[in-house]
């Protein structure tokens, strides 16, 4: 059938132009359903991003005994750096620790003014590589070094890590469940709006069949129409989502106390591949195909 794709495309455009109100309604439904889905995915992604960002900041701190000198501390740091799961190990002298405390308390300089000697112990601060931040990895490292002669105490932030691991797992499970629900809802809504369109055009379909149209010939313009409406709806939803992200999520995330504590955290927008028209098109195509099947074409 020469020129058939062009014919189907032209027919789909003619159908859209011929039923502006119905197409507008379908487009609105598609846009809103994708926008809701997008808002959810953005929030879930940022929550996961925040948690992983926070996990990256958690360190294992080996506090050293008072009698441990800098040379021994540097030796321990060097030994820890050689461990495959360690990203960074740094010796912090009591003087460095005091300087850091002074920097953190710039709003109350008098508090530390009287100190002539650092009350803080020397320590070795260890940051783990991203792939070794699970609790068993942390426990293994602590077990190996906690009993070193110069180590006095270990602070691994285990409780924080446990809590975050649980929250991350929760977000992931909720993400799968809610995401799947929203995805199915979007397909369902698109399928039903397109189904109504097919019912409205039953006469046209009957006529096409009467003059010998094959099922594929009848279906093609509906599927193309679904893809076009879906892609437009997805792009509109992506635009709306970006505006929400730029003018609501970013200001809220930056000003929220719990987040601002961790300076440097920046909310992320969805990867563009998730937002591409293809995403909406595929869902709409699925909806159109489902509608065609249920409408008997």
């Amino acid at each position: 059938m020469t020129g058939a794709p062009l014919y189907f495309f032209r027919r789909a455009l003619a159908n859209i132009a011929g039923e502006r109100t119905a197409t507008g309604l379908t487009l609105s439904v598609v846009t809103i359903s994708f926008l809701i889905f997008g808002v959810y995915v953005t929030i879930a992604q940022n929550a996961a991003h925040f948690m992983s960002d926070f996990a990256g900041r958690v360190q294992i701190v080996f506090d050293l005994r008072r009698d441990a000198d800098a040379l021994a501390g540097e030796a321990l740091a060097s030994k820890l750096r050689a461990e495959p799961q360690v990203a960074e190990a740094r010796y912090v002298s009591p003087a460095d620790a005091l300087d850091r405390l002074r920097r953190d308390l710039t709003h109350a300089p008098d508090l530390l003014h009287a100190l002539t000697e650092s009350p803080l112990p020397a320590s070795v601060e260890v940051t783990l590589k991203a792939e070794y931040r699970e609790r068993p990895d942390i426990a293994r490292l602590i077990e190996r070094y906690a009993h070193a002669p110069i180590v006095d105490a270990v602070d691994a932030g285990d409780e924080f890590m446990d809590a975050f691991t649980r929250v991350l797992a929760g977000i992931w499970v909720a993400g799968v469940v809610i995401g799947a629900f929203l995805m199915v809802s979007a397909v369902f809504i698109v399928a039903n709006t397109i189904r109504l369109t097919i019912i409205r055009r039953r006469g046209e379909i009957e006529n096409m069949r009467l003059v010998g149209a094959t099922n594929a010939f009848v279906k093609a313009p509906f599927l193309i129409e679904g893809i076009l409406v879906g892609a437009t709806g997805a792009l509109a939803a992506a635009g709306g989502l970006y505006l929400l992200y730029r003018f609501i999520l970013v200001p809220v995330a930056v000003s929220a106390p719990v987040i601002s504590v961790f300076t440097g955290f920046e909310p992320v927008f969805l990867p563009w591949r998730d937002l591409a028209g293809a995403s909406g098109s595929v869902r709409s195509w699925a909806g159109s195909a489902r509608s065609c099947r249920s409408a008997g074409i």
């Binding site: 046209e204 069949r209 009467l210 003059v211 010998g212």
Partner: protein, 225 residues
């Protein structure tokens, strides 16, 4: 061209069958009137020919194809050889006269150039060339039926079926429509016209198959199938 052997078509147990042990043969190039009162089985007879329905038992052969054994995917190819005209025209309100007629050729995958030429020819043949850009609602009943005939004949069908084609028209318009149908027959197409109007048959006498309660009660020109 069309053969039916002991065809029974039943739509359900409560009522009698729409067609009951019907056997007939309509030859290639023949024009036949299918007559009978409402409920006689005329529409069912036509629907079996263009595979809108299938016989409950018996065989229906159209241009050598056994409709009862047609796969669903083969039905469109059978219909491309059959033009159908209805009492209620069945034109698409949202499309122009030109586009309504063009639909038949679009389905066949013809080029835009060929579609334009053949649609204009078909509209010229039924005297509707001047209204190619009009929409069906802007036309009278007679004009709409002319467009429906143009749509049916533009694909050069070997069979033309007309189900009460003059049912919604006044007598003078009925005569004109029947004349158009007769011209399609003169071009070589086999034509079956279902009607309950004896005046129509009298105006252009041809073979008449008379149905009543799903059975052939008279056939003016039939031989044993």
């Amino acid at each position: 061209m069309i053969r039916m052997f002991h065809v029974v078509k039943s739509y359900g147990p409560p009522g009698p069958p729409a067609l009951n042990d019907l056997t007939c043969h309509i030859r290639k190039g023949e024009m036949v009137y299918l007559m009978g009162p409402s409920g006689a089985g005329k529409t069912t007879f036509l629907r079996l020919i263009y595979a809108a329905d299938f016989p409950s038992s018996g065989q229906v052969l159209v241009a050598g194809r056994n409709v009862a054994k047609l796969r669903e995917s083969s039905i469109p190819y059978l219909r491309r050889n059959i033009g159908v005209v209805f009492q209620d025209f069945k034109l698409l309100a949202g499309r122009t006269v030109f586009d309504n007629v063009a639909l038949t050729l679009e389905v066949l995958g013809k080029s835009r150039k060929e579609i334009t030429r053949r649609v204009h020819d078909a509209l010229g043949e039924v005297g509707m060339h001047a209204k190619a850009s009009a929409h069906p609602v802007e036309l009278s009943g007679g004009e709409q039926q002319r467009v429906a005939i143009a749509r049916a004949l533009v694909g050069d069908p070997t069979v033309l079926l007309a189900d009460e084609p003059t049912g919604n028209l006044d007598p003078s318009m009925s005569g004109e429509i029947l004349e158009l149908i007769r011209r399609v027959n003169l071009r070589g197409a086999t034509v079956v016209v279902a009607t309950h109007d004896p005046r129509l048959v009298a105006s252009h006498p041809r073979r008449v198959i008379e149905l009543n309660r799903g059975r052939i009660v008279a056939d003016s020109g039939g031989k044993a199938a």
